[in-house]
Amino acid sequence: MRIVEKRILAKGICLFVIEAPLIAKKAEPGQFVIVRHKENGERIPLTIADYNRDQGTITLVCHGIGKSTQEINQLNQGDSFLDVLGPLGLAMPIEKVGKVLCVAGGLGVAPMYPITRILKAAGNHIISIIGARSQEMLIMTEEMEAVSNQIHYCTDDGSFGHHGFVTDVLSQVLQEQEIDLVVAIGPLPMMAAVAKITKEFAVPTQVSLNALMVDGTGMCGGCRVTIGEKTKFACVDGPVFDAHQVNFAELLSRQNFYRDQEQAALHQCRIGVGR
């Protein structure tokens, strides 16, 4: 699966447009792919951040946080992914509901973009709230502005827009206006905080969960999450779920389970031992 375009969106965040005609044909907002970038590599889930059915391409945005994602970000235009499997998961249901708040943090903007675009095309009024650590880390702002009726920016360091978290702006908007649906994509703690607030306001909320995965086809059960009282497999039952039903505490602890081993892998590759 050849990379036809690569762009660096921010420090450590790269966008890849890759040739994947079958996936491009079927992809819907909210779905993802699993890639391997090399023999011996991990299977890494990445959201389909955009797709072009005519050109047969899909867009992936990758944040280099560990060994595999950092290696992926070293791939260049003309290189190929060894494996790309998808589209995986269920599409997010899109309807005209009225006013929709799209809350995205950090890398979450990338998967939020096609969802927002389609929500807008379905006739919804879109208010976007976009957060990042600092101005340099804000990505895809132009794209988001083009599909939002209104847009708010927040940075942790105050270098751009509101000085503080997306949740501050969220509470404010919810106090001022009737909102029909909230969609939140970003780091787990952010989505958990959003869910808590929107629950108080009783606004239906959708989140996209990035549980740890192996196969992505329902075979291993490693991606299980508790939704309501039930165990669901994020790769086949999700990854988009009703935020008010998600057990975020459990999910957070599951994500950190391999942290020490992964840091060891990263350390090893940085100092180049045995690789």
Binding site: L22, K26, R43, L88
Partner: protein, 460 residues
């Protein structure tokens, strides 16, 4: 006397992933084959789901001709190196062997394995060539034993066959489930290569139902479709604490090790095993998980099973191997809760003592709980190996595909056709979790039915 299978010593093999059973020498194989009585009405053949001509191949082997013996087996079974290793022979061919009534049955599985290994090692395998070339395409979904067997036969009939597999490597459970020390992956690859050489195209990374639908396949010009997607969805116990860290389905644990090679430093997929491992269940999958955990360095590995030893569904040989390797068994012990530490990692598997009650209709004695008798087993890894259900992906993406009450694909018993004309299914996705040879046998039956169906279509 039955020839004993040479094995790696238990203490040694519990430290490595190399194959446990080392295989017979030619002399041993001939001696063992000579024990066969060449029965006129061979019951062993009835016990084999694909009806291999067992006395036939044993005779050739006893005469010192392993290559023709293999050709005889290959008339019925395209994966002998695999079946010889993993078939539950005690319930199948060997279970019916008359020599077994008074003594030890002929080691049919060991001999089947021997002739396949021998031919591979000396590079003299029977080359199969398609009978003719037909201008028709057939799609096979899933590359487990059912799909591979169906693909091989369809190619022999002359069809252009494409196998679609969702993972990045072919083989199904043979690849991701059954561990290296029981079924070396080189052997699996070799058998798959032989099927590719028949002209079968194997495309990986295609999840049918998502990447392509059955309708897409028909539109792309496939005249018939075979579904062999297996029973891949792991069951859980549904007890409190099951989503704690350190709790794996056997599928995840084994996939991390077998497919993703997490135990080799040059692979990036992580795995954690800890000091104490509890494996819930007592089938082949449970034995494989337990023995794998031991090899990954766990100090104490325990099988936790709610029934007694007699009811354990695993192959006898694997239970014995596990015992030799120091796996502990807590029988009549049923998990009721998993308890974690402050980081949400499992620490204790709480179990209730069980006793066997009255036999049920099937004659099996059901376990019943002993009131107020609990034991706490300490465990930093719990592996749940209590069976699998049908994977939903293809089923939900296919309109009009009738399912059974348990959610498996419903087929016509005669020709294995599903409710959709031209779509056939076999293997674990039809029967529920079964055996390699049963899946293969059913895959072959489906291939013949597809051939008949397409001939009939042509006639109309």
């Amino acid at each position: 006397m039955r020839q004993a299978m040479p094995k790696q010593a238990a203490e040694e093999r519990a430290q490595n992933f190399a194959e446990v059973a080392l295989g017979y020498t030619l002399e041993q194989a001939i001696a063992e084959a000579n024990r066969c009585l060449q029965c006129k009405r061979p019951l062993c053949v009835e016990g084999c789901p694909v009806h291999i001509d067992i006395p036939g191949f044993l005779k050739l082997l006893a005469e010192g001709n392993p290559i023709p013996a293999l050709a005889k087996i290959k008339e019925q079974n395209s994966l002998p190196a695999i079946c010889g290793r993993v078939c539950p022979q005690e319930n199948q061919c060997e279970g019916r062997c008359v020599v077994g009534i008074k003594g030890d049955p002929i080691a049919i599985g060991n001999l089947e394995r021997f002739v396949a290994d021998y031919a591979r090692e000396v590079g003299q395998e029977p080359v199969l060539t398609p009978a003719q070339s037909l201008d028709k395409k057939v799609a096979v979904i899933g590359s487990g034993p059912a799909g591979l067997a169906a693909a091989a036969d369809l190619a022999q009939f002359g069809y252009q066959v494409t196998v679609f597999e969702s993972l990045h490597a072919a083989g199904g459970v043979l690849r991701y489930g059954i561990p290296e020390f029981r079924l070396p992956k080189d052997i699996v690859q070799h058998e798959i290569d032989a099927i590719s050489e028949l002209g079968v195209e194997i495309v990986t990374n295609h999840l049918i139902g998502q990447t392509l639908t059955l309708d897409d396949l028909f539109e792309a010009g496939y005249s018939a479709i075979f579904i062999g997607t297996g029973a891949g969805l792991p069951n859980f116990l549904n007890i409190p604490g099951e989503n704690l860290n350190g709790v794996y389905s056997a599928n995840e644990f084994l996939t991390r090790v077998n497919l993703m090679k997490a135990y080799l430093p040059e692979y990036d997929t992580p795995i954690k095993v800890g000091q104490k491992v509890a494996v819930v269940g007592a089938g082949n999958v449970a034995m494989d998980a337990a023995r794998t955990a031991k090899r990954l360095g766990a100090e104490e590995v325990r099988i936790v099973y709610r029934r007694s030893r007699q009811e354990m569904p695993a192959r006898l040989e694997e239970i014995e191997n596990a015992e030799e390797e120091g796996i502990l068994f807590s029988l009549l012990t049923n998990p009721v809760e998993m308890i974690g530490d402050e980081s949400n990692t499992v620490k204790v598997l709480r179990c209730q003592r069980m006793t066997l009650g009255e036999p049920d209709q099937s004659g099996r004695r059901n376990p019943v709980p002993v009131p107020n008798e609990y034991i706490d087993l300490s465990a930093d890894t719990v592996i749940v190996a209590i069976g699998q259900g049908p994977n939903p992906v293809l089923l939900r993406g296919t309109e009009g595909l009738a399912l059974t009450e348990r959610g498996y694909i419903k087929v016509n018993d005669e020709n294995l056709m599903t409710s959709i004309p031209g779509v056939f299914a076999a293997g674990d996705i039809v029967t529920g979790a079964a055996t390699v040879i049963q899946a293969m046998g059913a895959g072959r039956k489906a291939a013949s039915a597809i051939h008949a169906y397409l001939l009939e279509q042509e006639g109309n």
